[in-house]
């Protein structure tokens, strides 16, 4: 509770938390909040020439190429983006941290094998790997989330690995050994708190990367399947009309940027608040 109060004191963080809350509410209560059915193609949703409508009184954010309500699609799309951004990125962070910490702390054969595995994963182009995986496993939202996690954990593992090695070499870890502390105690009580800043930064940065990767996969047809909307596939569907119907790219684009920025700000603030040596400074 103290932590939350400390976080809310920073205006940028309070605004970020508010925005994240709005997106979560939108995702959960989409059927009640959305003004229209996101997949319904309206007869009056297109001009006589067949062009999408700009924002107006009926369609607050305008309509897309097929005459569907953009606002409703963005509200429903929040579900996809949150699941991808939070769940799949969360899985990636957990796997990456586990692999990195284990390899860095245990070293030896176990460490070598884990890191060579990571290198192997890294040497595949991430996108190709995702396409291959998604093609084998029939694409659905959850499968896409899993695929993205599988592609994204490698960088985190690499970073956490080298960080762990440098922290484990510090004197205070040697002191822990001399007082008889067990490896598990050293790991959880002394190493992880020092890794937290790195983990938080990667976790928040990862949200924007994963949302964009999902968009790419959707564009290539192996991501979230239409007509189900996601912020990524809305942008990709309409990117060629950027000059004539820029609202189609602008609104979901703003949503992605704002969401990842919010997570970044919250992550940074969390990192500072959890570090006792920085307490009381800004």
């Amino acid at each position: 509770m103290n932590l939350l109060m400390a976080l809310l004191k920073r205006k940028s963080v309070a605004a970020s938390l508010l925005f994240i809350l709005i997106v979560v509410v939108a995702a959960v209560f989409a059927p009640w909040l959305a003004p229209h059915d996101p997949t319904r193609q309206f007869f009056d949703g297109l001009t006589l020439e067949g062009a999408p409508l700009p924002p107006n009184a009926d369609f607050y954010f305008g309509t897309d190429l097929l005459g569907r309500d953009l606002l409703s699609r963005i509200i429903y799309g929040a579900r996809t983006s949150l699941i991808i951004g939070v769940v799949s990125n969360g899985i990636a962070v957990i796997i990456g941290t586990l692999v990195g910490v284990t390899a860095g702390f245990v070293r030896g054969w176990t460490g070598s094998i884990l890191m060579r595995l990571t290198d192997l994963m890294m040497s595949f182009p991430a996108l190709l790997l995702a396409i291959a995986l998604a093609a084998i496993l029939r694409p659905s939202l959850w499968i896409v989330a899993l695929v993205i996690a599988m592609v994204n954990w490698v960088q985190i593992a690499r970073v956490i690995y080298s960080e762990t090695i440098s922290i484990a070499a510090k004197d205070f870890v040697a002191v822990e050994r001399t007082i008889g502390a067990s490896s598990l105690r050293i790991l959880f009580s002394h190493l992880l708190p020092h890794l937290l800043p790195t983990i938080l930064v990667w976790a928040t940065l990862g949200i924007s990367t994963t949302v964009l990767l999902e968009a790419t996969l959707s564009f290539l047809g192996v991501g979230v399947q239409p007509p189900m909307p996601s912020w990524g596939n809305i942008i990709f569907e309409s990117q060629t009309y950027f000059t004539s119907a820029m609202w189609l790219v602008l609104f979901p684009g703003i949503a992605i940027v704002a969401l990842s920025l919010s997570f970044n700000l919250v992550g940074d603030a969390l990192r500072d608040e959890l570090d006792p040596t920085l307490k009381g400074r800004l």
């Binding site: 510090k170 004197d171 205070f172 040697a174 002191v175 822990e176 050994r177 001399t178 007082i179 008889g180 502390a181 067990s182 105690r185 002394h190 708190p193 020092h194 570090d275 006792p276 040596t277």
Partner: protein, 594 residues
């Protein structure tokens, strides 16, 4: 040597009423150097002495025009050849830098470009200052290396910084600084990172070069021994304020300010410590027998022979109850490795016995149980404390790990321990970074004491501390020993400190103990040539006894500790000139032990 000093005359460089502020962002500023004035004269040496945070380094950076951006210069002037360096545009300043005013830093490795050979770096400096071109530059590089008494100059020119030892690197730095024959040489703690014998070599070298070239030398140091060896004039600084400014002889014989007196009193002087009452028959607590530590060396090629570094070689000694045994030697001699092996922090062969119980090979629960008996204190108290834990959590952790007390009991014990090491119980709620260096070391000591050990291995426990703080921590360790009957293995490179606290001393060289005996025997009647060499290099805070380091300038070759796997050097033979005083037998005059 003093007789040849030129008389005082017009200063080469004059610092007048220099003040420096460090700004903390929002308008607030802290004065770190306040109203500092001094003159540098050709051929003379001025030392700025002070403890950490005294502003001595910032003053020297101001002269070089290298102050960090947060530093502001509110007032003062630095006059060089009738020009104020503070007002000089950057272009002109950088032309002066290196050519007229040169600087040597503490850490030679970080000041040299690791990807450029020594010869290339020297030639580059020569060309940049347009001293010479092409072949001439190469010739000059060779000459200057010869001037700094570099052995095997041709080989050194082709070598890279990492291939040189610390002392050789510092010689290269001096060569680079002196190649333009600057009028002023600023040396910021030039020997702090070096061993005493190497320090003596570098100091001697700087004295000789100064005499040859008539350079004005400005030396920044925390070591009053170095000040006494080098200075003609001294400025003592404390928290940015000049405490005293005097000629060296005057300062050491009749210090005027309280601070200088306190500082000089805190400096341990070799040969002045009262002899500690040595109880001849102490029950033995710890026995080390034929301890060997070897580290495998990575093979250069799959066909190369497997080799090992012999870090510790056949070390044996015993530690009595309530006794302090000093383990001294220069860096790389294996003293810290011996301590770590005794803590079972690395694999070793041989035996370490605590009350007759063998510690080698202990694992799991048995090892954990032994941790209650034998604890360790590290050199850098800041690195040894997890900054994310409160002091209370840190000191209480050993009790938690060993299940010795519930949380209320831990809190009581932590408060007790804090008071025992001279801190208030309220410190428990704070974090390590909120304490000073000396206080942090007290916290580390409290932590080591929490398990009520009988033996403490202290690895350079006061080396990272200022002298005044150092004296306090040593006094604390001594009083704890008297009260609790602790035995210390005191690992240190500082002979004067060792003399103050140790009952017995062991001198290590290349992984072996070459001399061991009572403090009196080893330090006041040294028998082994290495011990003598080491003692002769210790700078003394006494202007009337300037040491002649010339004999040390001939660098002795250290034997290569890398041997083929399985190599078994013959064990050392020990002579016993006096009861309890053992000295390794050597061939006449030779330091080679293998």
């Amino acid at each position: 040597m003093n007789s040849s000093k030129p008389p005082r005359n017009a200063p080469v460089l004059a610092v007048e009423r220099l003040s420096i502020d460090i700004s903390h962002g929002t308008g607030s500023a802290q004065r770190v150097v306040d109203d500092l004035s001094f003159n540098l004269q050709a051929g003379r040496t001025l030392c700025i002495a002070g403890e950490s945070g005294s502003g001595k380094s910032l003053s020297s950076l101001a002269i070089m025009g290298l102050l960090p951006k947060v530093a502001q210069l509110p007032s003062g002037a630095i006059l060089y050849q009738d020009r104020d360096l503070l007002g000089l545009p950057d272009r002109q300043m950088s032309r002066l830098r290196g050519r007229d005013i040169a600087m040597i830093f503490q850490e030679p490795m970080t000041s040299l470009n690791p990807l450029m050979s020594v010869g290339k770096q020297l030639e580059e400096t020569i060309r940049r200052h347009k001293l010479d071109e092409g072949g001439g530059a190469t010739r000059r590089a060779r000459e200057i290396l010869e001037a700094v008494r570099m052995p095997h100059v041709e080989k050194r020119l082709r070598q890279y910084p990492h291939e040189l030892s610390g002392g050789m690197r510092q010689r290269v730095m001096i060569a680079m600084a002196m190649v333009c024959r600057p009028k002023v040489l600023i040396a910021d703690e030039p020997t702090t990172a070096l061993d005493v014998t190497i320090q003596a070599q570098i100091l001697e070298l700087m004295r000789e070069l100064q005499q040859e070239l008539g350079t004005a030398l400005l030396m920044i140091t925390h070591d009053m021994g170095v000040v006494a060896e080098m200075a003609d004039d001294v400025v003592v600084m404390n928290r940015g304020v000049v405490e005293e400014q005097a000629g060296a002889r005057e300062l050491f014989s009749a210090p005027r300010s309280d601070y200088t007196r306190k500082l000089l009193a805190a400096v341990p002087r070799l040969g002045t410590a009262p002899e500690l009452a040595s109880q001849a028959q102490r029950p033995r607590v710890l026995e080390v027998g034929d301890l060997n530590v070897r580290f495998p060396v990575q093979r250069q090629s799959p066909f190369a022979k497997a080799t090992e570094v012999h870090a510790v070689e056949g070390v044996s000694f015993a530690l009595g109850a309530g006794e302090t045994l000093g383990l001294v030697g220069e860096s790389g001699c294996g003293k810290s490795t011996t301590g770590k092996a005794m803590m079972n922090m690395l694999a070793y062969s041989g035996s370490v016995k605590l009350d007759g119980r063998e510690l080698n090979g202990l694992k799991g629960g048995a090892l954990k149980a032994i941790r209650r008996e034998i604890q360790m204190i590290f050199q850098d108290p800041f690195a040894a404390l997890n900054q994310r834990k409160t002091v209370g959590e840190l000191i209480g952790e050993p009790l938690l790990v060993h299940g010795l007390a519930d949380s209320a009991g831990r809190r009581r014990r932590v408060a007790e321990l804090l008071e025992q090491v001279g801190l208030s119980a309220a410190a428990a709620a704070r974090y390590p970074h909120q304490f000073s260096g000396g206080q942090r070391q007290r916290i580390c000591i409290a932590r080591a004491l929490s398990l009520e050990p009988r033996v403490i291995i202290a690895d350079e426990p006061v080396s990272a501390l200022d002298v005044s703080v150092q004296a306090q921590v040593l006094a604390l360790m001594k009083s704890l020993q008297d009260r609790l009957g602790l035995s210390y293995l005191f690992i240190s490179h500082d002979m004067a400190v060792v003399e103050q606290v140790c009952h017995r001393v062991a001198v290590m060289y290349c992984g072996q103990i070459v001399e061991i005996g009572s403090c009196q025997q080893v330090l006041h009647n040294p028998q082994h040539p290495y011990t003598r060499r080491l003692l002769s290099a210790v700078p003394m805070p006494d202007v009337d006894h300037k040491r002649d380091f010339r004999a040390l300038l001939q660098a002795s070759e250290v034997p290569d500790p890398i041997k083929p796997r399985g190599h078994q050097p013959p064990p050392l033979e020990y002579l016993e000139p006096q009861a309890g005083h053992f000295v390794a037998r050597t061939e006449e005059g030779s330091l080679s032990l293998y």
